[in-house]
């Protein structure tokens, strides 16, 4: 018989799940868990400085590996601080297991100190959640939490454990089997046959790839389908990295800040093969006018996504990789020379190459390309949310699945730094670059302390325009240039702040490629502060609510 308390059991079950790193912050109601964790020889704890940071550190581990990652928080404010990171994980289908302390069972419902109903609060933003009522329940709940987080469409799971459950002594005979992803039912054969027939009959098909292609590791299968059948590929922001940016059939990102020629070419498509994507409004623009002539084959692991926003002529429920592979087996090779010529022309799009300043000054799109050159294909790229994120999405030469870490669905400012820390913890041999903006960076800047403590190889590129750039851009373009609450009046000395945290920092005020290369080569963390002109904008841009055919364009000074 095994004999231990609920906290020790929880840690043992996490060890048996293969967890080696947990991010979190201790507090009154999870102290038994922390005491048990202090005895673990297999799990390393990373002390975040805010629970939202802990949540995003877990996301960085999960997104970069595809494995479920764990974070800890105490009850009350500790638990509510996790919520944004959980909601973010839900919208981007990221498997994390969040374990919160809760007040003693007898005190639940009495407005006890640091009591909140985190179970109730997290229902809408988790895939599933639990409140554990006895130590014995942990034997089922912990493996089930992992199974749910990883199975089908991945997502976040919250497990709330009252303090008395953590201290309750339990005797039990057998360990449960660790939770893992359940097998996925094979795709319907007739649906695939019909899809193959529809693809063969199409004159202007486009393969529309979403984040599900990353989850399913189906980038190669997508490229094979595209190459064998002369089908151009487009990606959502979440699918960047699933296929190489330099693949000749990759027309890049479409949508609000996608390339103009790609958006326009999509309007001519007579067939969309949608793989692991969900017709998000930032991708489709006004959906009633999105690819109006196209038939739709929608492949997704989540049945509720098929027909949700755009009805599909053929829905294929199942694993995207399996579906694409089986389509490849069924389809003979087919050439579509005229369509491919049009696609190759779309690849020559330059609508994203926009800058106010001349070549002698730092221009965001060039800086991003230069950094990619210096850090190489092994690097993980995390971003915050805003203009710097869009410029990186537009210009970074992506080449690997799971190396692009960005907040897509929720668009959470503050995502970048802790997520980069998580990616670096899970991938200690790879460089990690975090592109951020001054607005976003301030939202989780406390994690610089975590980074300094862990001495991880994270390079922060801080594009500082002293503004909430994308907000300023919208006010400038769509609100009569009435700039209000989008510019920061006071300049912040980010270099001094980083140094105060114990992080090396430099300011890059002029084009200095050798200094950039040297700084990026140094081991350990570093902040590279890059002041930019606040009038710089992200172009092209589909106005919110407009069709993707309506694109505002910018100009490039001396870009030719």
């Amino acid at each position: 018989m095994h004999h231990m308390n609920g906290a020790e059991l929880t840690i043992a079950l996490l060890e048996r799940q293969g967890i080696t790193t947990i991010s979190g912050i201790p507090g009154g109601t999870n102290l038994p868990l922390y005491t048990a964790l202090s005895h673990s020889k297999r799990i390393r704890h990373v002390l975040a400085r805010h629970e939202q940071g802990a949540g995003f550190i877990a996301q960085g581990m999960a997104r970069s590996t595809g494995q479920a990652a764990v974070c800890f928080a105490t009850s009350g404010p500790g638990a509510t601080n996790l919520l944004t990171a959980i909601a973010d994980a839900k919208l981007d289908s990221t498997p994390i297991v969040c374990i919160t302390g809760q007040v003693h069972s007898d005190m639940i419902g009495t407005d006890a100190f640091q009591e909140v109903d985190i179970y109730g609060m997290s229902i809408p933003i988790t895939k599933h959640n639990f409140q554990v009522r006895s130590a014995a329940e942990l034997l089922e709940v912990i493996p089930q939490a992992f199974e749910l987080a990883l199975s089908g469409r991945p997502g976040p799971v919250l497990v709330d454990i009252p303090k008395d459950v953590q201290t309750e002594i339990l005797e039990f005979a057998d360990w449960p089997v660790p939770g893992q992803a359940t097998a996925i039912a094979p795709c319907n054969a007739r649906a695939l046959e019909n899809a193959a027939r529809m693809i063969a009959a199409a004159k202007r098909p486009i393969l529309y790839l979403g984040g599900g292609v990353v989850s399913a590791d189906a980038g190669d299968a997508a490229c094979t389908l595209a190459e064998n059948n002369d089908i151009p590929m487009v990606t959502t922001m979440m699918a960047l990295g699933a296929i190489r940016s330099d693949h000749p059939l990759n027309l890049g990102m479409f949508g609000m800040h996608g390339s103009k020629k790609t958006n326009l070419l999509m309007q001519e498509a007579d067939l969309l093969i949608v793989a692991g994507a969900r017709f998000d409004d930032r991708a489709t623009g006004k959906i009633a006018e999105f690819c109006p002539q196209a038939n739709v084959i929608h492949i997704d692991i989540d049945a509720s996504e098929i027909h949700k926003l755009r009805s599909a002529h053929i829905g294929v429920l199942g694993d995207v990789g399996e579906a694409l592979t089986r389509l490849n087996d069924q389809l003979p090779q087919q050439s579509r020379p005229e369509w491919i010529d049009q696609a190759k022309e779309a690849r020559r799009d330059t609508s994203t190459v926009v800058a106010l300043t001349g070549k002698d000054q730092i221009r965001p799109f060039e800086l991003i390309r230069d950094i990619a050159k210096h850090v190489g294909e092994q690097a993980f790229i995390a971003t915050d949310v805003g203009q710097h994120q869009m410029w990186t999405a537009q210009h970074y030469p992506f080449c690997r699945s799971r190396h692009w870490l960005t907040s897509g669905g929720l668009g959470t400012m503050g995502f970048g730094l802790p997520t980069a820390i998580g990616a670096a913890l899970a991938n200690p041999d790879n460089p990690v670059v975090c592109f951020s903006g001054d607005g976003s960076f301030l939202m989780n800047i406390q994690e610089l302390a975590t980074l300094a403590q862990e001495q991880l190889n994270v390079k922060i590129i801080l594009l500082d325009n002293q503004a909430l750039g994308l907000v300023r851009q919208q006010q400038s373009l769509f609100y009569d240039n009435r700039l209000f609450a989008s510019e920061f009046a006071n300049a912040i000395d980010f270099v001094a702040i980083a140094k105060g945290f114990g992080i090396k920092a430099v300011s890059l005020k002029t084009n200095n490629d050798s200094m950039l290369a040297y700084t990026l080569r140094q081991p350990g963390p570093c902040l590279i502060h890059v002041p930019i002109d606040r009038r710089e904008m992200v172009f092209p841009m589909v106005p919110p609510g407009a069709a993707n055919t309506t694109m505002l364009e910018g100009e490039c000074h001396a870009c030719a």
Partner: protein, 106 residues
């Protein structure tokens, strides 16, 4: 004078795991996907290990989408969509209020 609702009503019958949070999982889903629930009935079955929940809802073209979201809930075992209210809620209404009118309280 309220306009009589001429929309067709449907009853969804859910078999769920019975625990304190399951009702809020189900009802919250309808609320946040802005789908109105007209009436609810819930009874424990299987010695209390599971429950049956009947939901009276209006037909709309979004109903299939809501049902597929309900089917994703981890505690929902099965969902049956009945073509109409098979006397369940009408009978209950008759029983409680008699002829659809609220009885005067004493």
């Amino acid at each position: 004078m309220p306009v009589p609702d001429t929309r067709r009503e449907t009853v969804l019958e859910l078999r769920v795991n019975n625990h304190p949070g399951v009702m809020s999982h189900v009802v919250g889903l309808f609320a946040r996907r802005r789908y109105n629930v007209e009436a609810i009935l819930c009874l424990p079955v299987d010695d209390g290990a599971q429950s049956d929940i009947w939901l009276l809802v209006n037909e709309s073209d979004r109903l299939s989408q809501i049902i597929s979201q309900v089917e994703k809930l981890a505690d929902v075992r099965t969902v049956v969509r009945h073509a109409e209210d098979s006397c369940l809620f009408a009978g209950l209404r008759q029983q409680m209020y008699g002829g659809g009118e609220l009885k005067e309280s004493a």
